[in-house]
């Protein structure tokens, strides 16, 4: 049961990351590798606020969102000037820089030692220290994220995002300042990743920089590519499958050491088959 709840919690966190990244990559067509950075900024902000100042959980999450949004706003206003390969390269650069700040700003982040003893959320005297309550909290956050994303992609704003993906120059001629659209969706997406970070930090109660590398961005990208770009339910399915694979391998009797490597192999094979057989992903409507 504990184990099942653990998987649910992990699924919810990665589904939030997938959904929010899909707004930028799937709907707007911007290949961004920044997500692990915003996930990490949210996690560190919450961890520090909770351990150092003993703030209320919600307030810490909220401040994490504000901080992440401000950083996303400044990074995004640079990135929004680019498209295609340059956008992707810029986003990789940002992710690497953020990682090295987590690693090297030791006074703040304690570097490779990480931050431990992060308290579980405590909301109005209700402690989320039990697995079931935390899983519930994570699922509620996922539900809210899903509804928010659905609202965005069904709005007129979402339609303009898709048009930017299809032909940015053409939609500009109809009076849309695409730069603003790209920037806003980027900030919204980062804010959602920050919430996932807050959940992760308070769930595992210990974070260090190694979680927030460029590989984590690639993993989140794999979730949405597998599930399907520009499809929200696809991101849920992608997260579910990629969370379950290592567990299935373990059930299949692979020893832990081999399971780790087998997992990479399976991910690789899966993406390869996908690219060849179904480039739009399982439920996707759009090919990168």
């Amino acid at each position: 049961m504990e184990y099942f709840l653990h998987l649910i919690t992990l699924f919810a966190i990665y589904a939030i990351l997938g959904l929010s990244l899909n707004l930028v990559v799937g709907y707007t067509g911007l290949l961004s590798a920044t997500h692990a950075a915003f996930y990490g900024i949210g996690a560190y902000a919450t961890a520090l606020l909770l351990t150092v100042s003993g703030l209320n959980f919600f307030f810490a999450v909220f401040l994490g969102i504000i901080l992440t949004s401000l950083i996303a706003l400044s990074i995004g206003s640079v990135l929004s000037k680019f498209r295609d390969d340059y956008y992707a390269l810029g986003s990789i650069g940002f992710c690497i820089i953020t990682f090295s700040i987590f690693l090297n700003w030791q006074d703040l982040t304690r570097g490779p030692l990480g931050i431990s003893g992060i308290p579980r959320p405590d909301i109005f005297g209700l402690s989320f220290s039990s697995s079931i309550l935390f899983a519930l909290l994570a699922l509620i956050a996922l539900g809210v994220t899903f509804l928010a994303c659905r609202g965005i992609v069904r709005s007129s704003f979402g339609r303009v995002l898709k048009a930017i993906r299809e032909d940015e120059g053409a939609i500009q001629v109809f009076g849309y300042r695409t730069h603003t659209y790209k920037l806003l969706v980027f900030v919204i997406s980062a804010a959602m990743a920050s919430v996932a970070g807050s959940l992760f930090a308070t769930y595992v109660t210990y974070i260090d920089p190694s979680t927030f590398t460029i590989l984590e961005s690639v993993f989140i990208l794999a979730i949405i590519i597998l599930g399907g770009l520009a499809n929200l339910r696809g991101s849920l399915i992608g997260a579910l499958i990629l969370i379950l694979i290592p567990e299935l391998l373990r059930f299949a009797g692979f020893p832990a050491e081999i399971a780790g490597q087998t997992r990479e192999l399976v991910y690789g094979l899966m993406l390869l088959v996908l690219m060849l057989r179904r480039p739009q992903g399982l439920l996707g409507e759009y090919k990168l």
């Binding site: 339609r159 898709k162 048009a163 993906r165 120059g169 001629v173 009076g175 849309y176």
Partner: protein, 250 residues
Amino acid sequence: MEKKDQKKPALAVQNLTKHFSGVLAIDNLSLSITQGAITSIVGPNGSGKTTLINTLSGIFKPEQGTITVQGRTVPPLHPHDVWHHGITRTFQNTRLFEQMTVLDNVLVVLTKRSVIPSLLETKDDTHYDQAKQVLAATNLWEKRDQLAANLSYGQRKLLEIARSLATDADIYLFDEPFAGLFPKMVTVVFTILRSLKQEGKTVVLVEHDMDLIRKISDHVIVLDSGTLLAQGSPEQVLSEKSVVEAYLGQ
């Protein structure tokens, strides 16, 4: 008062120059487009017709020269300013939103232009009706749920026109809207241009077919190597010796 406004050109360029690494595409060009009329721009391939439209719609910055819209000189245009000046256009090589439905290709240009209101805006009935109207006019309403990518060549051209009609602009720049169309579709586009004129809109048309030009244009402007070769009424211009030579010389 009304009359005076009518006399102002809808669009004008003065001493416009634009070149691409050595190629002088627009060469110190000055011309004006009459309000509420259909003006055809003709000229051999590479004479700068598309470049002129791209410059008027902010896609290219002119190196030199000014652009005047409804009698007012405008600062260098960005593509996203053009709509605010009441100008819309189609592209010679269609630029549709391929992985979006035909209906969405039109709905998207009806969206509110500021971001926050557009986030709160969902299925708006008036937009839907407007989209229906322009898609019906272009015989595309039945195709509304198909992806633009799945349309035939002619339907793509029509969707470009539908999309520009939806903006309800004052000035329409159509870059070879008839090229490659079946006769039936030609009639559809013809009717659309006529009714735009009836509504008092200004139409700029790039076209090669002399019969069409004769039938539909109030004015003809001939470009050659980025310069103005001739202009005037269709009968007058199309019989001019230099114009015939420019075409036959091709």
